[in-house]
């Protein structure tokens, strides 16, 4: 039984690596490392025991800060690697203040924003590390990352130098899943739409044919995240046109263009405008946020949502059941783009950063790189830092570690052991250890929702751009306003005028500079391949 399970796990692991490689690899050279079998129990490269333990000021995450020192995990790691940890304590709000006050750790939290990375790089707060050095001392991890997206190295480059260890988020390469109310589909006699035409049909029926059967016309086809996440607003429709108004994409002539000023975005908006004027879209989309959308779907006011990725949906299964809803999942809609597409945020994330003083301390820096490689890819070490002690805090269930009570529900109990992202900033961020987070049912769920789905995402990822920092505060507000006006415009002609006007305004207000810089960046990356 176990053997078969291991085999199927290994198979699905390879399968997901291949799929991930296919969808994000733009034809660049896949390093030979992809053929390497999943790394299992390598010998951890422990330092010679008679050397002085090196001190590491650690804060892998601001969310899982242990309350006590010398927790189980801390002791385990100290012994394993012959190091001594200085537990740097901070949270999201005060971390930046501490940095400003000069308290700089060796290992930074994994959840940093790209703007901070740029600032800190220029201010000399973080260390620049050569790509070759990372490749040399973190071979296993690098192989992992490059198998997901070889472009991961691009994100960490500031002013020509590399500033961190690249990170990818596997979930990030999955898309936002179109989710339908199964009971409603049945009532109106449809299956999940696969084209824009079918989708429009469904919207009409959801709005006019009383799908919840209460005799009142109080239901809508859909609403949207008009208030708190504009990039997700009507993302399924925009994806059917091959665009997202808040992403960079490659235009037909090979240059980079901003989604918001493309013809595709305009056409998609015209369609949305038509639906809005037909009364198919909930007019309150402008003030709906993530919470309200969930509420409206669960209280059967709308029949379609698109603000969740598969792991969100996995977590909401209990809620859907509680409210008597059978969710039906789609893969995307066929539209002018010629294929079914889902929008995704992309797998690229801001790299893991190290403190600038490590630029001078070669031995320590190299040691840290080695340790990080183990944390990310060594089964035993990963399992211990993320799950704790077998038999005490977790058990193997279905081939996968599963936390037991009280550790499963009590966050403090976990922190008491030192479990979590604090000592391992690569939680759920490395392909080789992905298997630990995928119990059979979750794996199947993911497969069901994402297999065969094609995604579009921002071609540049979370990139460093000076013009962004300068202009985006205005440009994004400008875009939000104009697109809202366009969607609720009186007729198609008005949509045309509004969006043409927007294009002009946007370019004038700094957008042109942004596009120019984006193109330059893109050229540099293409040339470096």
């Amino acid at each position: 039984m176990k053997k078969g399970l291991k085999a199927s796990l290994a198979l699905s692991l390879v399968a997901s690596m291949v799929i991930a490689g296919c969808s994000t690899n733009n034809g660049g050279n896949t390093p030979a490392a992809t053929e390497k079998p999943s790394t299992s129990n390598n010998q951890a490269t422990t330092a010679p025991a008679n050397e002085e333990p090196i001190e590491i000021s650690m804060i892998g995450s601001t969310w899982d800060v242990p309350t006590e020192d010398n927790t189980y995990v801390q002791q385990y790691l100290e012994e394993k690697f012959n190091v001594k940890f200085i537990n740097y304590r901070a949270n999201d709000e005060n971390f930046k203040v501490k940095i400003a006050g000069g308290e700089i750790p060796d290992i930074f939290p994994h959840n940093i924003g790209e703007a901070d990375m740029v600032n800190w790089a220029r201010q000399g707060v973080i260390a620049s590390i050569s790509v070759d050095e990372i490749k040399q001392y973190m071979p296993n991890y690098v192989a992992d990352v490059e198998s997901v997206d070889p472009n991961a190295w691009d994100i960490g480059i500031v002013d020509g130098k590399n500033y961190g260890i690249p990170r990818v988020w596997l979930n990030g390469s999955t898309g936002f899943i179109p989710t339908y109310n199964g009971e409603w589909l049945e009532k109106v006699g449809m299956s999940a739409p696969t084209t824009l035409e079918e989708f429009e049909q469904m919207l009409n029926k959801f709005r006019n044919d009383d799908p919840d059967g209460n005799g009142q016309k109080d239901t809508y086809g859909m609403t949207g995240r008009g208030k708190d996440a504009r990039a997700q607003l009507f993302n399924t429709i925009y994806a059917a046109y091959g665009v997202n108004p808040y992403h960079f994409k490659v235009a037909d002539d090979g240059s980079i263009i901003w989604g918001g000023i493309t013809e595709e975005a305009k056409e998609a908006t015209k369609l949305l405008n038509k639906w809005y004027n037909d009364g198919l879209i909930d007019p309150e989309f402008m003030t709906d946020d993530n919470t309200l959308i969930g509420q409206k779907f669960n209280t059967k006011k709308v029949g379609f949502i698109e603000n969740n990725m598969y792991h969100h949906l996995y977590g909401q299964l209990a809620t859907f059941a509680e409210n008597g809803i059978t969710p039906v999942y789609g893969k995307g809609l066929m539209g002018p783009a010629g294929k079914s597409l889902q929008m995704s945020n992309g797998a690229l994330q801001v790299p893991l950063l190290l403190g600038s003083h490590l630029e001078k301390d070669d031995a320590k820096r190299i040691r840290i790189l080695q340790i990080l490689d183990e944390l990310a890819t060594n089964d035993e070490i990963y399992a211990t830092t993320v799950f704790g002690e077998e038999g005490v805090t977790y058990e193997i269930d279905n081939g996968v570690p599963k936390l037991v009570e009280p550790y499963a529900t009590d966050a403090d109990a976990r922190l008491g052991k030192g479990i979590g992202g604090y000592y391992n900033p690569f939680v759920e961020r490395a392909v080789s250890t992905w298997k630990f987070h995928m119990p059979q049912d979750r794996l199947e769920f993911k497969e069901q929702l994402t297999a065969g789905a094609e995604v579009i995402s921002d071609v540049l990822g979370p990139s460093v751009m000076d013009s962004k920092a300068k202009y985006f505060a205005n440009l994004s507000a400008l875009q939000d306003e104009y697109f809202t006006k366009a969607i609720i415009a009186k007729n198609e002609a008005e949509v045309e005028t509004i969006l043409e006007d927007f294009k002009g305004q946007w370019l004038k207000a700094g957008g042109q500079e942004v596009i120019d810089e984006a193109n330059k960046l893109y050229q540099e990356r293409q040339a470096a391949k």
Partner: protein
């Protein structure tokens, strides 16, 4: 005559010396007379020196590009760059400035008197129990953060499911999308703001009302004054010192138009009337603009604030009231 002028020439000099010394000694005598007052005051001044004047050097960040590695003193000087970003790089600084001022003025004109009026009304109630309960209930919304209240308000004002529009429909009116309509958004802000703070605001005025001598009312009643005369001629003048200081100090915060409230209630459909200085800075901050920009914005707001306070204080004093200074 000549001796006179010589004397005169000498005298003034001596007089000056004497009066200078005399002045210092006079001052010292004044201080000694108020010795106990200073025994009380000086420790508090020390506290202000340590906790408020000590950190004051941080203001220079408004003109610097802060680098943690260099610290505040050694960070690079960038002059007016942050202010440029604020005023000139935003294509429409006039808009956010105008929104900020207009919303603040609405709040001042409508929001400031509201608790005073409510306090006066509560003061007139004769049923003690009811009055106590009403007071306790009235300040409840103050304790909710706008994160929570915005959720409630959004549903209450919903054009489809909200009670306010339901009531409107009973009168035959069309539903109004308050939170997404530029014409209604600012009034909505003001009214919900009053709803949240009115009860809490009455507390200080009720305290002031408690200090009014009842015998004054007795005398007025005997002179035949009705309720409104009494309020106008006795109550209001008695609590005017409290009113003026509350007014002056709140005027100092005029460029804070209520970030929390606006941030949680606004959406792109109403940016044109609701985008204020702080929301702009917040967006800029997300993209990494740091302590320098926020210090610069704070400095700008504060300079305007204190100018207003000093000006109003001057006017108020000319009108014969106690001010801030």
């Amino acid at each position: 005559m000549e001796s006179d002028s010589v004397e005169n020439a000498v005298q003034p000099k001596i007089k000056k010396k004497k009066s200078a010394k005399h002045d210092i000694r006079a001052v010292w005598r004044e201080y000694r007379k108020s010795k106990y007052l200073f025994i009380m005051l000086v420790p508090t001044l020390i506290w202000y020196a340590v906790f408020h004047y000590g950190p004051l050097y941080g203001i220079q960040l408004a003109f610097k590009d802060f680098s943690p590695m260099k610290g505040i003193w050694a960070s690079a000087w960038v002059g007016w760059e942050h202010f440029n970003f604020l005023f000139f790089q935003s294509p429409d600084f006039m808009r956010i400035f105008r929104n900020t001022v207009i919303i603040s003025l609405y709040n001042l004109v409508f929001g400031f008197p509201a608790p005073i009026i409510l306090a006066l009304l509560l003061n007139e109630i004769r049923f003690g129990m009811f009055k106590k309960i009403a007071q306790s209930i009235s300040y409840i919304p103050h304790f909710f953060s706008w994160v929570v209240l915005a959720g409630i308000v959004t549903v209450m004002l919903s054009p489809s499911a909200g009670p306010v529009n339901y009531i409107l429909s009973l009168f035959g009116a069309e539903p109004i999308y308050f939170l997404a309509d530029s014409n209604y958004f600012r009034p909505t802000l003001v009214i919900t703001g009053i709803w949240k703070e009115i009860g809490w605001g009455t507390i200080i005025y009720l305290a002031a009302l408690a200090g009014v001598d009842p015998s004054l009312y007795e005398a007025a009643k005997m002179d035949g004054a009705n309720r409104f005369r009494q309020i106008w001629n006795i109550t209001i003048p008695s609590i005017l010192p409290v009113i003026t200081i509350m007014f002056i100090l709140q005027l100092g915060g005029i460029l804070n138009a209520g970030f929390d409230q606006i941030f949680n209630l606004y959406n792109p459909a109403v940016y044109d009337v609701a985008d204020i200085i702080d929301t702009y800075v917040y967006r800029a901050g997300i993209l990494g603009a740091q302590f320098g920009l926020t210090t610069a914005v704070g400095l700008f707001k504060n300079i305007i604030g204190i100018t207003l306070v000093l000006t109003t204080n001057y006017i108020v004093k000319k009108l014969g009231q106690e001010g801030v200074l």
